[in-house]
């Protein structure tokens, strides 16, 4: 039975832990760790015993049912399958709680003063526990599937985007290996399809991830082909690797649950043996089909087909309205009367300079009260408001303006200028009537497009999602995504060093993407906070403002709110934005390189 399998997994873990004594680690956490593990093991044993009992009682029920309704054998089998699924779902869920204790306490232990040997032991505990957590997560997934609890979507999605995301994630897995991943994408595949994007990425991640596990050196190739059939369009995906291969007699069992190609596979490669079974179930529920062929020592090839409909780019949920409202026409702000609340002299001069060059009428003040009197005595079209001013904050000033007796003043659009702000800031701002936000430091283009966008009569309201980043994404012009010139100056013009830094940046980003995916799965907020902290300064260095604001939010959310749903959505935003940033970096470095060669 499957629960027996779990028990044997636990004893495997225990064996691994048993290699050393906890008493060696004198820290208090060691005993906590040990008790967490014991409680985990006991909880599992209890569950397994209870299962024996509940199977018995459920068995009786079934007989009663059988008496009253004529049931077919097949239905019976399905029923017992789903009971098993329900049991696994509960067991898995309860296993996770003490396991989180193990992971948490061993994490604390790691932060205390340990010597190198002790550190190694703690790392071993952590990696074994993580393996176990992965297995449990897969179990839950599997049971959800067999219970029919999994939900399938039919939405418009960008299939190339999904494949690109999957590759980014997979690239994080091969950093330490001599493995490359190649993609052959049929040009005839439409950009937008209707289907379930998250299931597709799950299937691809599972299959490519599986290949990565079994390939030491060599290549993994993903080919995607469009097939037109009388009943619509299908995509054929083939994942081929140059891995260890699977013997023919084992090939037919490959999709069975709790089965790995060879009985000792898990010893070397780990895993629950559920991954491929999940893949097969997913594909079948999506009305597709999967086959496998393999040769020992040569490699393995998985081929699956899935049905899709052609979608419409207008229905895409994300990233569709990004470039709609980009204005660069200075004529549109000529003679615009702008009042600026800004206390920093340097920023004052910068804004003054820019507004002047566009022909705006400018009133700039560092004194909130004086600024309010300007409003009473001059015609103002738009207000730029620094949120952090000494004396009276931008929020307070905004509130006063919105409470003004004059209907005209009340409605003047206000754009907040801020160096760092959170979703709470945004909520508070929305509440008191701030119309838009500009994140400092900003480019002249950004400022210009915000002015145009918010000037009276041309206000654009975003329907649906009111995410903070929307505003900044819209305003990023193609070449304003990053600023590599500033960092090249810091490198004293050494292009070689700049390229080295870019390489490091990419590596860090991949690491962040990979680690955070795992942390999200584990609800590991500390892990996310640390990962975000690590990459934040690099992103600030290249001045990727949009990506930076996403990262600041991820960091804050992981540290303070600890809202996993929100983090997942921010992570999705990161995945969406990152490729743009990487492309912009590479393009700009290439440009700078040519310039320096030419000079």
């Amino acid at each position: 039975m499957k629960s027996q399998n779990l028990l044997s997994l636990v004893s495997r873990l225990e064996n691994e832990l048993g290699g050393f004594s906890f008493e060696e680690l004198t820290a208090e956490e060691a005993s906590n760790l040990k008790s967490a593990f014991t409680s985990f093991k006991e909880s599992l044993e209890r569950k397994v015993n209870r299962q024996a009992v509940s199977t018995l009682s459920l068995g009786n029920e079934e007989q009663i049912n059988e008496g009253s309704f004529p049931t077919k054998k097949k239905q019976l089998k399905n029923r017992s399958n789903s009971k098993e699924g329900a049991l696994i779902a509960t067991v898995s869920h309860e296993l996770r709680t003490p396991l989180n204790g193990i992971l948490g306490f061993s994490g604390l232990l790691k932060e205390s003063n340990l010597n190198t040997e002790q550190l190694e032991y703690v790392d071993a505990i952590q990696s074994a526990s993580r393996n176990l957590l992965d297995i449990i997560n897969e179990l839950m997934e599997f049971s959800k599937l067999s219970l029919g609890m999994e939900k399938f979507e039919q939405v418009d999605f960008n299939v190339r985007g999904i494949i690109k995301d999957v590759l980014y994630l997979c690239n994080t897995l091969i950093l330490n290996k001599k493995v490359s991943i190649r993609v052959n994408l049929d040009a005839k595949i439409p950009d937008v399809l209707i289907g379930d994007p998250s299931k597709l990425s799950q299937i691809l991640l599972n299959l490519i991830g599986n290949s990565i596990k079994f390939v030491e050196t060599g290549e993994i190739v993903l080919s995607v082909k469009l097939i037109r059939k009388s009943n619509g369009i299908w995509l054929e995906f083939i994942v081929t690797d140059t891995g260890i291969g699977i013997a023919e007699e084992n090939l037919k069992h490959i999709f069975e649950s709790f089965r790995q190609a060879e009985p000792n596979t898990h010893l070397k490669y780990g895993g629950s043996g559920l991954g491929l079974s999940i893949v097969k179930q997913l594909i079948e529920k999506l009305e597709g089909d999967i086959t496998v062929s393999s040769k020992v020592g040569v490699g393995t090839s998985f081929k699956f087909i899935l049905p899709y409909k052609v979608g419409n780019a207008l229905n895409l949920q994300r990233g569709t309205n990004n470039n709609k409202y980009e204005y660069t026409d200075k004529e549109l702000v000529k003679n615009l009367r702008v009042l600026v609340f800004e206390d920093n002299l340097l920023n004052q001069r910068l804004i003054e300079q820019r507004l002047k060059s566009w022909g705006c009428v400018r009133h700039i003040t560092d004194n909130p009260l004086y600024g309010l009197t300007i409003l009473d005595n001059h015609q103002i079209d738009i207000i730029l408001m620094d949120l952090r001013m000494p004396g009276m904050s931008g929020y307070e000033v905004t509130q006063r303006i919105r409470n003004s007796k004059s209907d005209h003043i009340k409605q003047i659009p206000i754009i907040a200028l801020t160096a760092d702000f959170t979703v709470q800031d945004k909520e508070q701002g929305d509440l008191i009537g701030i119309n838009d936000y500009i994140l400092k430091p900003y480019t002249p283009d950004e400022l210009l497009s915000k002015l145009v966008k918010n000037k009276r009569g041309e206000q654009i309201t975003f329907n649906g999602s009111s995410k903070v980043q929307n505003s900044s994404i819209t305003s990023n012009s193609q070449n304003g995504i990053v600023n590599m010139k500033a960092i090249l100056a810091e490198c004293m013009g050494e292009i070689g060093l700049l390229e080295e830094l870019v390489q490091l940046f990419k590596q860090n980003a991949y690491e962040f993407i990979g680690k955070t995916k795992i942390h999200l799965k584990d609800n590991d907020f500390n892990g996310i906070e640390f990962a975000a902290h690590k990459i934040k300064s690099g992103i600030a260095m290249i001045q990727a403002h949009t990506l930076h604001s996403i990262m600041v939010q991820i960091h804050k959310c992981a540290r303070d709110e600890r809202d996993i749903t929100k983090l997942k959505s921010l992570y999705a935003d990161f995945i969406l934005e990152y490729p743009k940033v990487e492309n912009a970096i590479l393009a700009e470095v290439e440009k700078l390189k040519n310039e320096s060669n030419g000079a």
Partner: protein, 126 residues
């Protein structure tokens, strides 16, 4: 050329490799001998054998935090070597702690390399 002239040594503890590469380069360019440590363990190991002319350390470090480092240098090694801390935003409490324990100066992220060099120069001349 005074090739043999003693180059001042900076023990530089920073786990962010991107920032570290840039700062390393700039410090070496300015004529310092940089010993880069990726974590607190390496810092401790180095300090047990040798004493640099100045320590530049991130406050948030794996295994052995910047705060522990100051405590170790001042109270265990009893050294008055200049220590400059690098802090990230939202770490004000740590900065106060660092000063209390005997840090000489601090610079906050994002670090401007030129500013750091000025601060290093100042610390060495005092």
């Amino acid at each position: 050329m005074k090739v043999t002239e003693h180059r001042r040594r900076i023990l530089f503890a920073e786990d962010d490799d991107l920032l570290a590469s840039l700062l390393n380069f700039r410090m070496e360019r300015s004529g310092y001998n940089v010993i880069h440590a990726k974590n607190g363990k390496i810092v401790k190991e180095y300090l047990s054998k040798s004493m640099p002319d100045v320590i530049v350390s991130d406050i948030m470090m794996p295994y052995f935090s910047g705060i522990e480092l100051i405590d170790y240098v001042r109270n265990v090694l009893k050294s008055s070597i200049p220590i400059i801390m690098i802090s990230s935003a939202g770490n004000e409490e740590n900065v106060l702690n660092a000063f209390k324990l005997g840090a000489n100066d601090f610079i906050s992220k994002p670090v401007s390399p030129s500013e750091l060099l000025v601060r290093i120069g100042k610390a060495l001349n005092n």
